[in-house]
Symmetry: C2
Subunit: 431 residues, 2 copies
């Protein structure tokens, strides 16, 4: 029986759980694979203590410097769970160039270095698997890459950040954003510095990975229109639920058009969006993740589950180890799809929700509506729910679909009006 | 660039759509695969007319006898979409024994001949893909087989029959079973002879495929406790929704215990079950399918989409063609997992819903409750909603969890009581 020799780099929560499961499920994993899985080395800054804690045998090599891993004799694959960006990048590139298999959960690395990693894998005939980088235990990447390989993916809508979804769920119950964040931190659902989550950056990295996988062409995170949830308040959520029949979610949207002969285009967006209450994504609460894939033939497919945590992430990592194992055991050459033409960035029209704060003064509303009208943006609803502070009376406007660029220009004009405060909330309305 | 030479057997709805998409998506499929996809032959009883309708070039061979397909020179794979059982079985076995790839959507064939197909594939080094056999466009088989290969699947709960789910959805709105069936037939959601759907047999075949895939060991459809929806009436659905907060669904349940050292056990069941209204499966309406997978590490994962129709089925078939193509292009040897120990059949305790019709006569209720009590089955609720017919007054009982075998014995005793009518409804209560 052939052996598959693995090293795990990074013994944090996910790395430890992966090592633990490799041991406890060893027998069934080997049977499914038709090969032996051997953990030959682990690497961590505190490797001695972690290896002791995990009860690893003396035969498992302990390293503190990940740079030494790729040169270990007889190694087949490295599981990269180091965290950070520079050390993982160097490790993964070096492994791929040497023709090793790599499993990583590092979405940041993939989003930032997609092309470089692909090139390294192509040169060295290395193999890269990264299911755990997006939506934790939900097998969305294999679904897009393998199951839907014969279909045409038209759009992906996702709730891919458990932290912000938990915070928004609490806010829709009336909690303040600050209290909701504290609660998330107490439960271990938010980091001490939650800025990557709150700003939408974490979601932008994930949509970059998703879209790059679907089109075969790198979509940089900087090309994703990204907006966080900082401006969304419980008053927006209450108004949306009662008046609009909608719920606010930090949504990831990637749309793919053109292709099959026509010029391919991609549109990617991360930001707070109002989803109709009867939409399946509206029911995704707390720290859960969900992805809705719209495919030309399969129609709408929804995937739902836990997007984070040691168990779900380790499940995805082990699935990748098994996929890599099958490739190696079967003697499969690494896949080499022909890159398609790089899609152009596109923007499609979208209806918007806008909450402004205005001085309680005649003529304000007509100045606001004039600013929208000048740019041809048509208004669907206007509400002035009233407020106690005459210096900042809320005006809530929803528009008919408009181009995001045009809406942005109108918004700049509106915010320049003397009677309008700078504080405002913008959300998209999901059709 | 290498070529992959395909034949499609059966040009019905799914076969035609597959052929159409192979043509219209040819360019992007070939690019993703890094190989050419060539449709070298089609086979159908009315092949001349169908090939003309599909606009196939003269170079595509037209056959009426599927038995001639495997011997076509240079063929790599056959897509079996014939329908029926005998001709598909002969064709698929012959292809696998010759080392050809096979894609099939035939759940009946898989459920009936699992071991025979596996053996043929092993002997001939053929490859068998069958994503479209369960849940149409929902990629549940690849999720279980590939994505969750490193996890431990503990249970699968599914709504896998769109016909019965549509009928039950209409019944929960008050429609009679007969009217709901007619509506389904008008919409093309039910066949003229809907008995395989209504009896639960179609779902039993699907759970056989799912469970065999998860355990690696054939679960025969005859080993699946199977009950149809014939006894469920709109009055059960109304009572369940208002009094129990539950909705009736034709549910597929497969539970896997033991393993990892202990003796593996499998429990499989198809039948009407009452699902709590807040359970994600309760929201799956109309002809949609959904699968909830409970995995030890990933937790609960839900997959939702269209379980039938030309588009969804063709999406799954094309995904399998691409998977097969990747294996062939990469030179991968067919996978050969070691079969695990065959799981024993198990039954776990379950709470039951029972509706009886009784003569309106004193002492009936005490005879019924005594029959349950004698076998140690404890009652959770009793309702006598009243009725206009004194010869058949409804009694609705829900029990605490009991073994299905014991409950069955108690039910036989109850139905033997002189004042109880033979007509009754039994449903399980999903925890």
């Amino acid at each position: 029986m052939r052996s598959l020799r693995l090293a795990v780099a990074g013994l944090g929560v996910v790395g430890s759980e992966t090592v633990r499961l490799l041991k406890s499920r060893r027998e069934s994993l080997c049977r499914r694979l038709g090969a032996r899985l051997e953990l030959v080395a682990v690497c961590d800054r505190r490797v001695a203590a972690e290896a002791r804690r995990l009860g690893l045998p003396a035969s498992t090599r302990r390293l503190t410097d990940p740079a030494r891993l790729p040169a270990l004799p007889g190694l087949d694959a490295v599981v990269e769970l180091l965290g950070g960006l520079d050390a993982p990048r160097r490790l993964v590139l070096s492994c791929l160039r040497r023709g090793l298999g790599v499993v990583t959960a590092n979405k940041r690395l993939l989003a930032q270095s997609w092309d470089e990693l692909r090139r390294a894998a192509g040169q060295g005939r290395g193999r890269l698997h990264f299911e755990a980088s997006v939506a934790g235990g939900i097998p969305i990447l294999k679904a897009l890459d393998l199951s839907l390989a014969g279909d045409r993916v038209e759009a992906v809508y996702g709730i891919l950040n458990g932290t912000t979804n938990f915070i928004l769920s609490r806010m829709s119950e009336g909690m303040t954003p600050a209290a909701a964040l504290r609660r998330a931190q107490e439960l271990g659902l938010a980091e001490k510095d939650p800025s990557l989550d709150l700003s939408g950056q974490d979601s932008a990295d994930k949509v970059s990975v998703l879209a790059s996988l679907v089109t075969g062409s790198w979509l940089r995170p900087g090309q994703v229109r990204t907006q966080g949830i900082a401006d969304v308040g419980p008053e927006d959520m209450a108004f949306a639920e009662t008046e609009l029949g909608r719920r606010a979610k930090l949504l990831v949207v990637a749309r793919f058009t053109g292709r099959d002969g026509r010029e391919p285009r991609v549109e990617a967006f991360v930001g707070p969006a109002l989803v109709p209450l009867e939409h399946p994504l509206a029911a995704v609460a707390d720290e859960f993740n969900a992805v809705l894939v719209r495919a030309a033939s399969a129609g709408d497919l929804m995937f739902y589950g836990k997007g984070a945590g040691a168990g779900p992430a380790a499940s995805a990592v082990l699935g990748d180890i098994m996929a890599l194992g099958r490739e190696l055991v079967s003697g499969a050459a690494p896949a080499s799809p022909q890159p398609g033409p790089a899609p152009r960035l596109a923007d499609s029209d979208c209806a918007f929700y806008l909450r402004l704060g205005a001085l309680d003064r005649p003529g304000v509303l007509s100045a606001v509506t004039a600013a929208l009208g000048r740019l041809g943006i048509s208004i669907a609803t206007i509400n002035q729910p009233g407020g106690c502070d005459p210096k900042s009376v809320p005006i809530i406007i929803t528009t008919h679909p408009a181009s995001p660029g045009t809406f942005g220009r109108a918004l700049r004009d509106i915010l320049a009006l003397p009677s309008i405060s700078r504080r405002h909330t913008v959300m998209r309305l999901l059709p």
